[in-house]
């Protein structure tokens, strides 16, 4: 029965992806600005532009172009970049793997930081430490990633220059060098994500710490640390799983701004450049993949929640 539910969810996810792909294609197609003029330059002649339009099927109506494109995508061919005639998958794949790597790094930092801050905040509730952490998380919540990234840049690359300003990850000499080079963008993403998790986890943990079985454990004489780590925390983590899944999706989306600040060569930078040159195939492929990751993350969160909580298994 669970398998049927999962398959149904998967099917819905695919339908969502299809609708999203149509929407992406349509919005890219109606972007203002003459693609031919953008690609060939302002000084191109009308004859050159007409030839370009014909070669790129830009003179066909949008639904026809969408059908051609979708046919290609289903066969794994995302087409050729308008700006450069290179294969789109050849351009998007390395950028995507760079971004996923950054995402992984941010995620690995995010888990211990959120848990630690939330635990400290909950255990020392009402004390100065809790107040301090709350203030920091609220400020972090209100700052856009651009401001956060720039602040971290100034702090750790200018005032106290321990980390590189530009994330030159194509020159790294090994894993440790990568950790240092990508530290600032990863830290920006981590802070941007963890502020939400810290708030939620803290509230959950406080509830759990007030529950009967924790009171029972305290009365039985168990040490505080053991209660928090072995009994309270695992139970508080459950709902935080959902927010982690959403944060994963946010990672890929919010990464555009962060990559631009640190000149990190990922999907974000690729999207910004492709949009400014109106390179529609690359924009469509990159956006579709990002949407796919978002939908997949939500799917995993839904399925995990269903597996954990029998009450959510409606048919």
């Amino acid at each position: 029965m669970i398998v049927k539910l999962v398959i149904k969810r998967l099917f819905l996810a695919l339908v969502t992806l299809l609708v999203v792909s149509a929407f992406i294609y349509w919005t890219t197609a109606i972007l203002p600005g003459d693609v031919a003029a953008r690609v060939l330059g302002r000084e191109s002649t009308p004859a050159q532009r007409a030839l370009f339009d014909k070669q790129m099927h830009l003179d066909q109506p949008v639904p026809v172009r969408y059908a051609i494109w979708l046919n290609g995508v289903v066969h794994g061919d995302f087409g050729r970049s308008l700006a450069s005639q290179l294969s789109v998958s050849g351009i998007v794949a390395p950028a995507l793997s760079n971004t996923l790597l950054l995402g992984l790094y941010a995620l690995v930092l995010y888990v211990p930081i959120s848990v630690l801050l939330a635990a400290l905040s909950a255990v020392f509730r009402g004390r100065p430490l809790d107040a301090g952490i709350t203030i920091v998380t609220l400020v972090g919540l209100s700052l856009p990633e651009f401001a956060l990234g720039t602040l971290l840049l100034i702090a750790f690359a200018v005032i106290w220059p321990v980390l590189p300003a530009m994330a030159t990850i194509e020159q790294v000499q090994g894993p440790l060098d990568f950790l240092r080079t990508a530290a600032l963008p990863a830290l920006t993403l981590t802070i941007a994500m963890s502020v939400y998790a810290v708030r939620m986890l803290r509230d959950n943990l406080i509830d759990v710490l007030n529950s009967d079985y924790v009171r029972m454990a305290t009365l039985n004489g168990l040490p505080r640390r053991r209660i928090v780590l072995r009994h309270a925390l695992p139970n508080a983590l459950g709902p935080a799983l959902n927010i982690t899944a959403l944060n994963l999706a946010y990672l890929i989306g919010g990464v555009v701004v962060v990559e631009n600040v640190f000149a990190y060569p990922g999907v974000g930078t690729l999207l910004v450049n492709s949009i400014s040159v109106r390179d529609a195939p690359v924009i469509e492929a990159a956006t579709l993949i990002v949407s796919g990751v978002y939908i997949l993350a939500n799917l995993i969160a839904d399925v995990a929640a269903m597996l954990l909580n029998p009450r959510l298994r409606t048919s």
Partner: protein, 532 residues
């Protein structure tokens, strides 16, 4: 059982990301950039470490459009790389005077229709092939070839394929239908770098070879760093000074400054003048300024009321206090303009001072044109931040115009759409032009056949002056004609040109030898080198 289920989703995702992680661990990224894991430049076999390269931080990323084909330059970053590996026949200095590069000397017939260039001996391309006239002929013929779709074709309309002749291996002759008195300047643009005979567009894209001071290493369009090594057989003795170059793009100004300060890059192609105060206090950085470079302008349509009346145009020029505009908008980093595209400091300027503000005279002119306190002149000014400082300039202009009773309504749009959707479409808006030689500057936006008629200026007398200048071989007489044309624009034209910006580059104090040029595409890296 349940506890294990909880861990499954995050583990699945982390597992999916483990593949790129292991790639890094194996140094795959390093290899893709042309570096072996220990920093040796693999493809040329020379033991050069990236940290010994002069690292240049550019401002504009053309991403997948990057190419080693000079025929089309999608961004200034691409132009810098083309500059590093190719040469032209002549190099232009900051006053657009030609100097010998691959051509040693040149002359024309009396009419200016036949130009003969003698080429330098002993120059080789980086693949060993010797440089001869065949390469020059191939280069220029492909620039005007419609199949190549070069952006240079629009400014090389005076050439035709049959008129580009290799007289002997070291002599090229250009024959034109009509006289072109400044052909050497006209054939030295950002696209006219000499490529090897037989190299087609497809081959040049990533596999171009040049005669220039540097050689590309495993060039791919989308790379974070583009590496170039010193050309050991470069024809100028003792140059280049740097062992290698590494080109980066850092679009965010704060990051670029931080990277320069910490030594991640050695030279920043351009710095935002708004960050100047911080940079001037930085002891690790030296600022380098050019002379008058990009202009910032306010074109008005001379065929549309209220700008049709020259008294209105003159009044709108007289309200500007140009030095004050430079001080407030450009923080002092600019030169006052004189309402024509030639800066007053240029030897081609008709007068070497800019129009001064004169509010009483502006009011008188407006009154004569029918405007006054009861019937004020109201205009809409379209702008965007498509050039740094443009929006501020519009606001300052509005305040200056208000002194004469003119009400300016500033309409700000998004910068990324400006050139596509706003420019050339409104009677009063803002624009800007890169530094150009006088003939190009006076014709690109002015005249009945201008490619970009910003002011709808079409006056037969003006076109006649330009046509005469184009065919006047005597330099002094030609300058006089340009000056007359520029004077016409200053006094009657529709374009208010209050300022020319200084381009400001920066280098670390441990580096020396870099001089920025007013032509933004011309990055000259022959002399730059860094210690430590």
């Amino acid at each position: 059982m349940k506890a294990k289920w909880r861990l499954l989703p995050p583990l699945v995702v982390i597992g999916a990301m483990a593949v790129p992680a292991s790639n890094v661990a194996r140094g795959v990224y390093a290899t893709r950039a042309g570096l072996a894991p220990d920093g040796i430049v693999a493809s040329t076999g020379s033991r050069v470490n990236v940290s010994s390269c002069v690292k240049i931080g550019g401002i504009e990323d053309s991403g997948q459009k990057n190419s080693l084909d000079p025929a089309n330059q999608p961004s200034s970053q691409n132009s810098l790389m083309v500059n590093a590996m190719y040469n032209r026949l002549m190099d232009l200095d900051s006053n657009f005077a030609p100097h010998p590069e691959l051509a040693t000397d040149w002359s024309s017939n009396k009419a200016g229709t036949v130009w003969t260039f003698h080429l330098r001996h002993g120059v080789t391309f980086s693949d060993g092939h010797p440089f001869t006239s065949a390469d020059v002929v191939w280069t220029f013929r492909r620039l005007i070839d419609p199949a190549v779709k070069s952006e240079a074709a629009a400014t090389l309309t005076f050439l035709n394929a049959a008129g580009i002749i290799a007289q002997d291996p070291y002599t090229v002759v250009f024959k034109t239908q009509k006289p072109v008195s400044e052909l050497p300047v006209a054939i030295s643009t950002k696209n006219t770098y000499i490529v090897e005979n037989g190299y087609t567009t497809a081959k040049l894209r990533t596999g171009g070879v040049g005669t220039g001071p540097f050689i590309p290493v495993k060039f791919q369009p989308v790379q974070q760093v583009h590496l170039f090594v010193k050309n050991p057989h470069y024809w100028e003795a003792g140059l280049p000074k740097a062992p290698c170059l590494a080109f980066y793009v850092i679009q965010e100004a704060t990051t670029r400054n931080a990277a320069l300060d910490s030594g991640q890059i050695d030279v920043a192609q351009q710095v935002d003048f708004s960050t100047l105060p911080a940079l001037q206090r930085d002891s690790h950085i030296r600022l380098l300024k050019t002379g008058a470079s990009t202009s910032m302008t306010l074109p008005m349509w001379v065929d549309t009321p209220p700008f049709k009346d020259n008294r209105v145009r003159e009044a709108l020029k007289l309200v500007v206090n140009r030095q004050q505009m430079i001080n407030t908008v450009l923080l002092g980093q600019g030169e006052a303009g004189d309402d024509n595209p030639i800066p007053p400091s240029s030897p081609y300027a008709w007068r070497h001072q800019a129009q001064q503000q004169d509010i009483p005279r502006a009011k008188k002119l407006l009154a004569a044109a029918g405007y006054g306190p009861n019937h004020p002149l109201k205009v809409d000014l379209y702008t965007a931040e498509m050039i740094p400082g443009a929006v501020n300039m519009a606001q300052v202009y509005k305040q200056m115009a208000a002194l004469a009773g003119v009400q300016v309504n500033v309409i700000v749009g998004p910068a990324s759409e400006y050139w596509d959707n706003v420019w050339l479409k409104h009677p009063f808006e803002m624009s800007g032009w890169n530094a150009r030689p006088p003939n190009e500057a006076l014709t690109i936006a002015y005249g009945c056949k201008a490619a970009y008629p910003e002011t709808h200026w079409c006056v037969p007398g003006y076109d006649a002056l330009i046509a005469k200048a184009t065919s006047t071989v005597d330099a002094a007489a030609r300058r006089n004609l340009y000056q007359q044309a520029a004077k016409m624009l200053s006094l009657q034209g529709g374009e208010i040109i209050p300022v020319f910006v200084y381009t400001i580059a920066a280098e670390r104090v441990q580096c020396t030898g870099y001089t920025p040029r007013v032509q933004l595409y011309r990055g000259d890296y022959r002399y730059v080198h860094c210690s430590g």
